[in-house]
């Protein structure tokens, strides 16, 4: 099965450092067309309505994992801003740091101008004057590319004062993230932007109602923004034809693990895991046997028939929640204890330390994983693990606590309670 290249159409074909190579392949045409339409106030209102309608009709939803309908998010924030006369802020979330996810990094490296163009159009649509692009602090290359892309867009007058007849100037600020998984959570990200310690906040209020500086704020993933220009090019109807059911459009999948050809691939939503792994990824590496596949960092361990289920944002039977689209293929040579340890280490390190179950629970799980790895499990560990997983799932403040509990839940679901009994498992 071939990739459906919508967002990644130009990736690899253009020079990310050269805006000309992007323009020569039809880049910034959508922005120029949009700018032509908004010469008058009336035209602007019409263009706004047209794009909002287009996005809502297309069924585009957030690519950051939760899958919230993008058009609705924009509408809520826009209406709130108009009503309260507060400035609206747009934050583009490039703090990709979940293990096994590298699609935003791929996009930024290969085609930064697609993102910038989307940002500028969206900023005009939402009448937003200040945009923050929050990029993971360890992404040195991406940061440089994005900074140069913004400068180039400014020099080519796609940004700044002389772009339109309107007085407003859109400012895009590239922010180097403070370095932490939790800043990918939108309220923590806003905290971090405000100069505070990033800690997820209780919702409601959601950022579209009250976010950065208590103003309505739209937080979108890099990939969501990258969808905007292709969507304008092809129209809602054509876009809807991609995908399955209500989950429309394409999704970038970062495949890692024991496949012949790992990497970032674009497929319509609704594609099956088998098609990706045994199609473009070329199947398992030589001499390795599939143990299980995991999707989204927190999903079930999948084998056999389950590989034919479709990857989607919809809930239901025979459907796999796609999350960030990170696919981990684990072969039978991998010791699951090591995997559990590395996951536990990640969650214990990256918890913000705010609420009890997550701060203390992830640490205790790490200790249990450590003992599991060294085959020094204590009698109480199984029971303790179950209790911790329960409080993490039910009582933690933000979804992160739930994520931290999932690997344990899934490993027990997959291997049974015997997984904790080293003697039994060896047989």
């Amino acid at each position: 099965m071939q990739e459906t290249k919508i967002i990644t159409k130009l990736c690899g074909k253009i020079d990310p450092f050269s805006i000309e190579s992007y323009i020569s392949r039809g880049g910034y045409q959508q922005l120029l067309a949009y700018l032509k339409n908004i010469k008058t106030k009336k035209g602007r209102l019409q263009a706004h309505k047209k794009i909002m309608k287009l996005v809502e009709e297309s069924g585009l939803c957030g690519r950051g994992g939760a899958g919230f309908p993008t058009g609705e998010k924009w509408r809520i924030a826009y209406q709130k801003a108009q009503k309260s006369r507060q400035p609206l802020y747009l934050i583009v979330n490039g703090d990709e740091s979940q293990p096994g996810a590298f699609k935003d990094s791929f996009l930024m490296k290969k085609n930064p101008h697609l993102i910038i163009e989307g940002i500028i159009i969206l900023a005009y649509v939402l009448e937003c004057k200040k945009v923050f692009v929050y990029i993971n602090g360890t992404f040195k290359e991406e940061l440089e590319i994005m900074r140069q892309a913004v400068t180039a867009a400014f020099e080519h007058k796609f940004l700044g004062g002389k772009t339109t007849d309107f007085k407003e100037r859109i400012k895009i600020k590239i922010i180097q993230g403070a370095g932490g998984y939790i800043y990918g959570e939108e309220t923590a990200l806003i905290d971090s932007l405000e100069g505070n310690r990033g800690e997820p906040k209780i919702k409601p209020p959601f950022p579209p109602q009250s976010g950065y500086n208590n103003s309505p704020t739209v937080v979108n993933n890099i990939e969501t923004i990258a969808n905007l220009v292709p969507l304008l090019e092809m129209g809602a109807k054509k876009y809807r034809q991609l995908g399955k059911g209500n989950a429309t459009g394409t999704k970038l999948f970062s495949v890692s693990g024991a496949v012949k050809n790992p990497g970032v691939f674009e497929f319509p939503l609704g594609t099956s895991l088998r098609a990706i792994i045994y199609g473009i990824c070329g199947g398992m590496e030589k001499g390795k046997k599939l143990a299980f596949v995991q999707v989204g960092g927190t999903g079930d361990f999948l084998v056999g028939k389950q590989l034919d289920y479709c990857l989607t944002y919809e809930k239901g039977k025979q459907k796999i929640p796609v999350g960030l689209g990170n696919i981990l293929v684990v072969d039978k040579n991998v010791a699951v204890e090591d995997l559990m340890f590395s996951w536990s280490q990640f969650y214990a390190r990256e918890s913000c330390g705010q609420c009890t179950p997550c701060r203390e629970g992830t640490y205790q799980l790490l200790k249990i994983a450590e003992r599991l790895k060294e085959k020094k499990l204590m009698e109480k560990d199984y029971e303790n693990m179950q209790d911790i997983v329960e409080v993490l799932e039910k009582t933690s403040l933000c979804p992160f606590g739930n994520f931290a509990a999932q690997p344990w839940k899934k490993v027990i679901k997959f291997y049974g309670a015997d997984f904790f009994d080293a003697r039994k498992r060896k047989k």
Partner: protein, 604 residues
């Protein structure tokens, strides 16, 4: 008013009220460590009008909104009452979850109860007993030292563990901290200082100062009143007191603050606002104090000096206006640290207990031919910042400190309990008359607005030559953080601003910086409702308890015959015998002080 159901029983509540507050009102017990009734006073953005950050995850309840089928787990401190809401506060699952969370919290804390000053009076301990937890179920997160490298870090005080005893007022022991965030909240939202906050992330997260330096703040001590465990406590000076009492060469002289006589009873199970002055004095004598003086008398002298200063600044234009009160050491230190440009506004008068202390080691020592070095001067205060103030260089003469030791109300209660004294059973006793006669103008210093009211009473006399017809200036009283009060003194209209909480004070100062001011006199108290809500006051504290204490303070005022400082016979006597007159060079020497810009020792 709407109807909701809690545990199958109907209650009438206000819409939007938090369920935790409702449960507290109707005495339905819910375990909670991170919310605190004090927090309802904070000014927060409208969206965050809750009493906590909901981080302890102990007050979980099951709730079902009208029309919903399933119950959902949600913390009671953020759950708002809506019509038809059904709440279950305890069932097997909730208890199990709470217990696990408590055990997770307790594991970093275990093992130090017996010698903790909060022992038997500790919220965490009470919950641990109630839920019958297993203290050693998990591996401690912070106590572990895994390698020599970490041990080295511990020596360099860069470790995650920190026992800060270097600062003069507050002991911080991060080993006992359970990361509830109350102190962070109070420091940030009530005082606006942010001296402590969360440090590190994930399994390294602790509450601490930046770079783990010793605490260097205004030492208001509000964090110690909200801490549910023993992680933040006042610096204990009971030992020094007991040592001095047992030293035959030392004359131990104790003075007691206006605000402690209405709160000390709480340490012995009396209701808030019980006035225990005579019993308190005899308790001090039982503890071995040779003489007991009254800080209220110092307050009377403060009023004399401060009202003269105010009258002079207004009438003769000497010095700048507005005049700031200087009774609160936390406020003075805050100004020295953050707004040194406003120090000229600050009244140079010492705080009341420093006036009494200064007179003890000068006037009283001279009269009774005592060597100041042989006097051990103790002050019982509702305040931790006073511990800092006592250590200041300005309050030292020839190497002898004016005040040798400051005990908080809590420490005093602890001392009495350790001696087996029961306050209610003691005989009545009176202050020693040498420096112990006071008026009720001094007594109301304990509440926010009291300094202003007492000063106006005397300033009226000074500026017009006669007393005001109605001496109860009700406009100075109130429980709002920032309030304006206008007074008519003859033909002159005196505008005053009364503030409590340093965050409020900062707001007022920022306005002043811009040149906007509509007042001539500014009274600031760092703690909510003034000294009666002080950092050294009995735990627990809440707006309700503070109201009871305040009522008692004003009831005291009503019942006294002498209600104006200038009518105090002892004040007149001291001026005649020793200080000459208010504002004289001798008064300047013994009753006034100097301020200077504060240079941070540790903080970067």
């Amino acid at each position: 008013m709407i109807k909701i159901k809690i545990n199958q029983k109907q209650y009438q509540v206000k819409e939007g009220q938090r369920i935790l507050a409702v449960c507290n009102k109707y005495r339905i017990e819910i375990a909670s460590l991170c919310s605190h009734p004090n927090f309802s006073d904070f000014e927060k953005p409208a969206e965050q009008d809750r009493s906590s950050n909901a981080v302890c995850r102990l007050c979980l309840v099951k709730a079902r909104k009208k029309g919903e089928r399933k119950y959902q787990l949600i913390p009671a401190c953020i759950l708002k009452a809506t019509a038809g809401l059904e709440v279950i506060t305890e069932d097997a699952e909730i208890i199990r979850l709470r217990k696990t969370n408590l055990e997770l919290l307790f594991v970093n804390h275990a093992g130090l109860c017996a010698h903790c000053s909060k022992n038997m009076d500790c919220e965490l301990q009470n919950l641990a007993i109630k839920y019958d937890i297993d203290e050693f179920r998990f591996v401690p997160r912070l106590n572990e030292i895994e390698s020599n490298e970490e041990l080295d870090l511990l020596y360099e005080k860069m470790s995650r563990r920190m026992i800060d005893t270097e600062n003069p007022a507050i002991v911080r022991d991060s080993e006992k901290c359970i990361h509830c965030g109350r102190c962070v909240d109070v420091c940030k939202n009530m005082q606006g200082i942010e001296a402590i906050s969360s440090v590190g992330k994930g399994n390294q997260a602790v509450v601490g100062t930046e770079y783990n330096v010793p605490l260097e703040c205004s030492y208001c001590g509000q964090c110690t009143t909200v801490c549910p465990s023993g992680a933040l406590t006042e610096k204990n000076e009971i030992g020094a007191f007991v040592k001095a009492v047992n030293d035959p060469n030392k004359t131990v002289i104790v003075q007691t603050a206006p605000a402690i006589r209405v709160s000390l009873g709480e340490e012995f199970g009396m209701p808030p606002g019980a006035i225990v002055t005579p019993k308190m004095v005899s308790a001090l004598r039982e503890c071995g104090a040779d003489l007991v003086f009254d800080t209220n008398f110092g307050a009377d002298l403060t009023v004399m000096e401060e009202s003269l200063e105010l009258a002079e600044r207004i009438k003769k234009g000497r010095g700048v206006l507005p005049l700031f009160s200087s009774c609160c050491p936390a406020w003075v230190l805050f100004l020295e640290q953050n707004y040194p440009e406003f120090l000229s506004h600050l009244s140079t008068v010492r705080s009341p207990y420093m006036i009494v202390a200064s007179l003890i080691k000068s006037y009283y020592a001279k009269q009774n031919t005592l060597n100041p070095k042989d006097i051990f001067s103790v002050a019982i205060m509702p305040c931790t910042a006073k511990k800092y103030e006592a250590s200041r260089a300005e309050f030292r003469k020839d190497g002898v400190r004016d005040v040798d030791c400051v005990l908080t109300t809590r420490e005093f209660g602890q001392l009495l309990r350790s001696k087996g004294l029961k306050l209610a059973e003691l005989d009545d006793s009176e202050f020693d008359p040498a420096l112990g006669i006071s008026t009720s103008a001094g007594a109301i210093f304990g509440a926010s607005g009291g300094v202003t009211e007492a000063t106006i009473r005397t300033a009226h006399y000074l500026m017009t030559g006669k007393n005001a017809k109605e001496i109860e200036f009700k406009q100075a009283r109130g429980s709002v953080g920032v309030r304006l009060a206008d007074f008519k003194i003859g033909n002159f209209k005196l505008r005053t601003k009364i503030v409590y909480g340093l965050k409020n004070a900062r707001k007022v100062l920022e306005e002043l910086k811009k040149g906007e001011h509509d007042f001539d006199f500014l009274e600031v108290m760092a703690c909510p409702d003034g000294c009666i809500g002080g950092g050294g006051q009995p735990i627990p504290t809440s707006p309700k308890i503070r109201r009871a204490r305040k009522r008692a303070i004003y009831a005291q005022d009503k019942n006294m015959s002498l209600r104006m400082s200038h009518e105090n016979t002892l004040v007149k006597k001291i001026y005649d015998e020793f200080l000459i007159a208010p504002g004289s060079y001798k008064a300047k020497k013994y009753l006034h002080t100097k301020y200077h810009r504060y240079h941070y020792k540790w903080r970067k």
